[in-house]
């Protein structure tokens, strides 16, 4: 039987963002601490997108940067902090003082966000979860609603449960270790909610450390978390997850996380940082170059290879 020759979907980051991210879109950026699509966020800043609704479980540095650059009017998130390293200065100013303009914020818990992706990816009208009973969150988020189960509860009485609505972004952007040219995407280490976020979206951009030969992907099909049919663009962008990390490629830049709390505390310093590192670079390759070889050597990792498994071959 023959090989299916579906399309090559590789684009430059510039092309991918220009094609699939438009003013006013709902944009999901996922990656739980690991493989955060920072370079894509920076390109959205360079292209000056406006009025985006950003959906992201852990709204961290890249979201603070996009807000500060004026790209974001609404945020949907379950954790708005700079990891355990401190605060997001711009986000806090927007929420606490509305300076320079307010930010609409929809607050969830982590599992609430996960269930929104599950509902979105599975085309469900809602997803049930055993959270929120007694919380004040439903009082500030009218999308947290309740359903009565049609089966009796443990005590024989009707049982109520909270539900969340699906999220269906216009575009989801994730970062991954590797993909083939058609978009079959392999991720290892923390895999988070990336696959569901892709399936929930109308369009999906996968940014990867490297594009590999079909044979590499096909040697281990269980490692493909996102199949080609769910992907619209594949962007090669080495080190595109910095300051987060890519398991097996480079380590987390903990110093930058700590520094961001200071940078973002001062609006002027934050804008200068964006001018220098984002608006003042043509693309992520220039950002990587400016950081320099010595810097990257500090984040280099050694080798810890997985033992191969045998998929077998008919004799």
């Amino acid at each position: 039987m023959a090989t299916t020759d579906r399309a090559d979907k590789t684009l430059s980051m510039r092309e991918a963002i220009a094609s699939f991210v438009h003013d006013g879109d709902t944009v999901c950026l996922e990656g739980f601490t690991h493989l955060i699509p920072t370079a894509a966020g920076h390109e959205i800043i360079r292209q000056g997108r406006r009025d985006l609704t950003v959906v992201r479980m852990t709204a961290d540095i890249v979201v603070d940067q996009m807000i500060a650059a004026g790209c974001v009017s609404r945020l949907v998130s379950s954790f708005v902090g700079n990891s355990s390293a401190g605060s997001l200065g711009e986000l806090r100013r927007r929420v606490e003082t509305g300076d320079p303009m307010p930010l609409a914020f929809e607050e969830y818990s982590h599992y609430g966000m996960i269930c929104r992706y599950l509902a979105g990816s599975q085309r469900l009208p809602f997803y049930p979860l055993r959270s929120y009973g007694g919380s004040d969150l439903p009082s500030v988020n009218s999308d947290l609603r309740k359903v009565t189960s049609p089966y009796p509860g443990p005590d024989g009485e009707p049982e109520q449960i909270y539900v969340v609505p699906p999220v269906n972004p216009d575009v989801t952007i994730i970062h991954a270790q590797r993909a083939d040219r058609r978009g079959n995407t392999q991720i290892w280490g923390l895999t988070g909610i990336q696959a569901e976020a892709v399936y929930a979206a109308d369009k999906a951009i996968v940014v990867v450390e490297e594009i590999v030969d079909d044979e590499v992907i096909r040697s281990d099909p269980n490692r493909t978390l996102v199949p080609a049919h769910a992907v619209d663009a594949v962007v090669a962008c080495p080190r595109g997850a910095h300051p987060s990390f890519a398991q097996g490629y480079y380590d987390r830049d903990n110093a930058f996380y700590r520094a961001w709390s200071q940078i973002s505390k001062d609006p002027q310093r934050l804008q200068e940082w964006l001018d220098e590192w984002v608006r003042g670079t043509a693309d992520h390759a220039e950002y990587v170059d400016r950081l320099g070889d010595e810097f990257w050597a500090g984040l280099a990792v050694g080798e810890a290879l997985s033992e191969p498994v045998n998929y077998g071959r008919r004799l």
């Binding site: 039987m1 085309r123 399936y199 096909r218 493909t224 080609a228 998929y311 008919r314």
Partner: protein
């Protein structure tokens, strides 16, 4: 040209209906042959998603089941059942689903559960498998029936396992697709363009009359204004099918 077998005829006819389709949810057998032939002819970008979770298979041998080990080795992706049924199928990524059935009615509703009463059946059939989901979530469904008789093309199903969208809408449930659009048999092709429509005879196989098809159908079968005669398999179609798709004649009985 050598004699064309029933399997070859059905595979060729089904393959032509896949023009411009991209994703097919197919079981093993005739749907696989049809899809592979379509890939070599009218639908070069087509991809089969198997009920076992395999996407982008590159098998070394023609698979004997939807879960054959040769489908897995060298595949582009193997998905878990929740991802396959939840994200891919219910998520709306399938253009065409292939189904078979013991009985089909004029709206393309299917019975794969029982002949007779469900509680004490004359024949217990395997049941839905993923059929209910393929019908509810594919944009359209092709049915290939090896036998075209009044018992299998019936006015009233003994049991409706797999409802088309008309039955779903009557219950207030909105399906994703339009249900069965093609029924391909040794006698001809029945078609249906959308919700609310009945299956109509649109083409007969060479040598078959409209009257023969109507007589083999258990309801008063509507007939299109113009009934085409299915062009017989071309030499090239047969060559591809016999030499490239199934050279060992695993399914081409």
């Amino acid at each position: 040209m050598t004699t064309v077998t029933s399997s070859e005829l059905l595979s060729v006819v089904a393959s032509r209906e896949l023009v411009a389709r991209r994703t097919v949810f197919a079981g093993i057998g005739l749907p696989t042959l049809a899809t592979e032939l379509a890939h070599l002819t009218v639908a070069p970008d087509i991809e089969v998603v198997y009920e076992s979770g395999v996407c982008g298979a590159h098998p070394s041998h023609l698979p004997e089941t939807i879960a054959d080990a040769v489908l897995i080795t060298g595949a582009e992706a193997v998905l878990s059942m929740p991802a396959l049924f939840g994200c891919v199928l219910q998520g709306g990524h399938i253009d065409v689903g292939f189904l078979g059935a013991a009985q089909i009615d004029r709206h393309g509703n299917l019975n794969t559960s029982v002949i007779g009463d469900w509680d004490s059946p004359t024949v217990r059939l395997p049941g839905s498998g993923g059929g209910v989901e393929v019908m509810a979530n594919s944009r359209e469904v092709f049915v290939v029936m090896r036998r075209h008789t009044p018992r299998s093309f019936t006015g009233t199903l003994d049991f409706c396992t797999t409802p088309g969208p008309d039955r779903a809408l009557a219950e207030g449930i909105r399906p994703l697709g339009i249900g069965v659009t093609r029924v391909i048999t040794e006698l001809g092709i029945l078609a249906r363009a959308g919700i609310g429509e009945e299956l109509r005879l649109v083409a007969v196989q060479p040598g078959v009359t409209v009257g023969q098809v109507r007589a083999a159908t258990g309801w008063d079968l509507s007939v299109a204004d113009t009934v085409e005669t299915v062009p017989p398999p071309t030499a090239e179609e047969l060559r591809l099918l016999r030499e490239d798709v199934d050279p060992e004649r695993v399914y081409l009985r």
